[in-house]
C-alpha cells in the first residue's frame, strides 16, 4: 500500500476507533454500526465479485450460516456466541468449499444462477426444518452483557473490518490479486499463462465466506433474533453486490464508500417512504450499471488523474 493509502487508512480507523467518544447519539451510533457491517459484507463480496469477476448472488448463504450457527449451537449445546461464531466461520468455509467446487465450474449466467440456487436451498431448509423453527426464526445470544453492550459489539466489529480491509489491500497488490483479475478478464488466457482458476477462485471464496459468516454471526448477536427472511433473503446478496459496485468493484475503498452512501441514503429515504427501499436499490443498481460501472471511486480517480496529468503538462 502506498504512503497516502497508509495515512488515509490510519485516519479512517482512528476515526472509527474514537467514534463512540464523540458521537453520543444512539441512533447515529447504530447507523455507523450498520455501515461497518455492510462495509465488511461489501469487501468480502468484492473479493469474489470484484477482483475475480464472479457475480455471486448467493453470498447470503454464508451470512445465514454464520447467523444460524450462533443461534443453533447456543440452543443445542449452550455454546457462547464466540464459540458459535467460530463454528459458523468453519461451517461457512466448508459450505464454500462444496458450493465453490460445484459452481465455479460454470461460467456467466450459469454460475450466477447456481449461486442463487445454493442459497435458496439453504433458505428453504431453514424455513422447513424443525430444528431451525421455520419461519418463526430463532433467538440468538448477545455477545456482551449490558451496560454498554452496543458499544462493546461495535468494538468487536472493528477488528473484523480491519481484517477485511487488510485482506483487500493485500489482494489489491499481491500476486493472488493479479491472478484473480486475470481470471476476471479472460479465464482461458489466465489458464494459458499457468494460473489455476479453480484454485484461485476457491481461495477468494473461502476468504469471502469466512468474513461474511463472521458478519452474520455478529448480526445475530446484535439483533438477537434471526429468521430465514432476515438472514437468508436473496435481497441481501444483491445488496452486497450493490455496495461493492456502487463504491467501485475491485477497489480497496469502494465497498466502504458504497456502504456509507447506501446506508445513509437508505436511512434518509426511510423517513419519507417506508416501503421504498427495494425500489431505491433497484434504481441505484440500474444507474450504476448504465452510467457508473466503475463506481463512485472511479469519479474521484478520474479527476485525480486529470489533475496530475494537467500538472505534468504544465511543467
Amino acid at each position: 500500500m502506498s504512503r497516502s493509502g497508509l495515512v488515509s487508512s490510519a485516519i479512517f480507523f482512528g476515526l472509527l476507533l474514537s467514534l463512540p467518544l464523540w458521537l453520543k447519539d444512539a441512533y447515529l451510533q447504530q447507523i455507523v454500526f450498520r455501515i461497518v457491517i455492510f462495509a465488511i459484507l461489501g469487501m468480502a463480496w468484492n473479493l469474489v465479485g470484484g477482483y475475480a469477476g464472479q457475480l455471486s448472488l448467493g453470498h447470503v448463504a454464508y451470512f445465514g450460516i454464520g447467523a444460524y450457527s450462533v443461534a443453533l449451537f447456543h440452543e443445542a449445546f449452550d455454546w457462547n456466541p464466540w464459540l458459535g461464531t467460530l463454528a459458523g466461520v468453519v461451517l461457512a468455509c466448508l459450505a464454500a468449499l462444496l458450493i465453490g467446487s460445484l459452481t465455479f465450474r460454470l461460467r456467466g449466467p450459469y454460475f450466477v444462477l447456481s449461486t442463487i440456487a445454493a442459497a435458496e436451498i439453504l433458505r428453504l431448509l431453514a424455513l422447513n426444518l424443525s430444528f431451525t423453527h421455520g419461519a418463526i426464526g430463532m433467538i440468538a445470544p448477545g455477545f456482551f452483557e449490558e451496560p454498554n453492550g452496543d458499544r462493546k459489539t461495535y468494538y468487536a466489529a472493528l477488528p473484523l473490518l480491519g481484517v477485511a480491509f487488510a485482506l483487500t489491500a493485500w489482494t489489491h497488490r499481491s500476486r493472488f490479486g493479479y491472478y484473480l483479475r486475470a481470471i476476471r478478464e479472460n479465464e482461458d488466457t489466465a489458464m494459458a499463462v499457468g494460473i489455476n482458476p479453480a484454485v484461485e477462485k476457491l481461495k477468494a471464496l473461502l476468504f469471502s465466506a469466512a468474513l461474511v459468516a463472521a458478519a452474520g454471526a455478529l448480526y445475530a448477536g446484535v439483533f438477537q433474533f434471526i429468521g430465514p427472511d432476515s438472514v437468508l433473503a436473496i435481497d441481501l446478496s444483491v445488496q452486497m453486490a450493490l455496495i461493492a459496485m456502487l463504491g467501485g468493484a475491485a477497489t480497496v475503498w469502494g465497498p466502504i464508500v458504497g456502504a456509507v452512501v447506501l446506508t445513509v441514503a437508505a436511512e434518509g429515504l426511510k423517513a419519507y417512504l417506508e416501503r421504498a427501499h427495494l425500489f431505491f436499490y433497484g434504481l441505484l443498481l440500474v444507474v450504476v450499471v448504465l452510467f457508473l460501472p466503475g463506481g463512485l471511486v472511479s469519479i474521484v480517480k478520474q479527476r485525480w488523474f486529470r489533475r496530475t496529468a494537467a500538472r505534468a503538462q504544465a511543467a
Binding site: 469477476g53 457475480l55 448472488l57 460445484l102 465450474r105 460454470l106 456467466g108 449466467p109 450459469y110 450466477v112 444462477l113 447456481s114 442463487i116 440456487a117 445454493a118 435458496e120 436451498i121 428453504l124 431448509l125 424455513l127 422447513n128 436473496i234 444483491v238 453486490a241 459496485m245 417512504l273 416501503r275 421504498a276 427501499h277 427495494l278 425500489f279 431505491f280 436499490y281 433497484g282 434504481l283 441505484l284 443498481l285 440500474v286 450504476v288 450499471v289 448504465l290 460501472p293
Partner: protein
C-alpha cells in the same frame, strides 16, 4: 390413483410453467441474456389482470391477450431505454441491470399496491370436473388449455413466419444475421418484448388460481431458470417440455414428501442438471 392425480395436477401447472419459461428461453436464445426481471414482469402481468378484473370486469381468460399486449409494449420500452445499452457488454453488467429492473418493479409494486395479498374469485375456480377416479379443477384446466394454445401458436409463429425465421436466425448467429438483411437490434427488441409478454400473459392465467403480491414473481423467476436449463438454454421446444417435467416433479414431490419441499427439489434438480448435463435434457450442444 392418488399418484396419478398428483401427476395430473403437475401437468396442469406445468403447462403454465411452459409458457413462462418459453419467454425466458426466447430472450436467452436470441440475446444470450438471462432476464432476471422475468418473474417481476410476471408479477406485473398478474396485477394488470387483477385490476382489469376488479375495475373493468375483464375476465382474465380473455384479458390475458390484452395483458400480453400491454406487457409487450412495456418490454419494448424497457429494451430500448435500458437493456439495449448493455448488449455486447459483459454478462456481469447485463445480469446486474436486469436484477436492478426487477427490484424497481417489485419495489414499485410495493409502493403502489402495498404488500397485501390479493386474489380474485371467478365462479369457475370453485367448479370441479370428475373423469373416472380423477378430479379436475376447472380453472386449472382452462388456464392449462390456454397456455398450451399460446405455447403452440408461438412455436408455429417461430417456425413458419418471416419474423420467426429472423428471430431464429439471430439466435443461431448474431454475426451473420445482419448480412442476411436482418435488423439484429430490432429483432432483439421484439424478442425481449415477446419474452416479457409471455411472462405477463402467464401471470394473467395464474391469477384465477393464485393470489398476487409484489414478491410473487421471484419463485417463478427461479422456476423458469430451472425449466430453461432442463430444456437446454435457449430452446423453445425444450422449455415447453421442461415446464411439464418441472410441474410433474413438483406434483410428485408434494404427494410423496411434502408441499414445502417442492422448491428444494426444484433447485437440487437444477444444480444436478447444470453440473451433470449442462446442455439440458434434450440439447446436444454444450453451452
Amino acid at each position: 390413483m392418488a399418484a396419478l392425480q398428483a401427476i395430473l395436477n403437475g401437468v396442469l401447472v406445468g403447462g403454465i410453467y411452459a409458457l413462462i419459461a418459453m419467454g425466458m428461453a426466447l430472450v436467452f436464445g436470441v440475446m444470450r441474456l438471462v432476464n432476471f426481471a422475468h418473474g417481476a414482469f410476471l408479477m406485473v402481468g398478474m396485477y394488470a389482470a387483477y385490476f382489469g378484473y376488479t375495475l373493468f370486469k375483464i375476465n382474465p381468460y380473455w384479458g390475458f391477450g390484452l395483458v400480453g399486449a400491454a406487457l409487450f409494449i412495456l418490454g419494448m420500452a424497457v429494451y430500448w431505454l435500458l437493456v439495449r445499452r448493455v448488449m455486447g457488454q459483459s454478462d456481469f453488467l447485463q445480469i446486474l441491470l436486469t436484477e436492478g429492473i426487477a427490484l424497481c418493479l417489485v419495489g414499485g409494486a410495493q409502493l403502489l399496491f402495498t404488500g397485501d395479498y390479493r386474489s380474485i374469485s371467478l365462479p369457475l375456480a370453485d367448479r370441479t370436473a370428475t373423469w373416472g377416479p380423477l378430479n379436475f379443477n376447472v380453472a386449472y384446466v382452462v388456464s392449462f388449455v390456454i397456455a398450451v394454445l399460446a405455447v403452440t401458436s408461438m412455436y408455429l409463429y417461430m417456425k413458419y413466419t418471416e419474423m420467426g425465421r429472423a428471430i431464429r436466425g439471430v439466435a443461431q448467429n448474431r454475426g451473420v444475421a445482419p448480412l442476411m438483411g436482418i435488423r439484429v437490434q430490432w429483432i432483439s427488441g421484439i424478442s425481449f418484448a415477446f419474452g416479457v409478454a409471455c411472462a405477463g400473459a402467464a401471470g394473467a392465467l395464474l391469477l384465477p388460481i393464485f393470489y398476487v403480491n409484489p414478491t410473487i414473481g421471484s419463485p417463478y423467476n427461479l422456476k423458469s431458470f430451472v425449466i430453461v436449463v432442463l430444456g437446454g438454454m435457449g430452446s423453445v421446444e425444450g422449455a415447453a417440455l421442461g415446464g411439464l417435467i418441472l410441474g410433474v416433479t413438483e406434483g410428485l414431490t408434494a404427494y410423496y414428501w411434502s408441499d414445502s419441499y417442492t422448491q428444494v427439489v426444484d433447485f437440487v434438480l437444477f444444480l444436478a442438471v447444470l453440473l451433470l448435463r449442462p446442455q439440458g435434457l434434450f440439447g446436444k450442444k454444450a453451452p
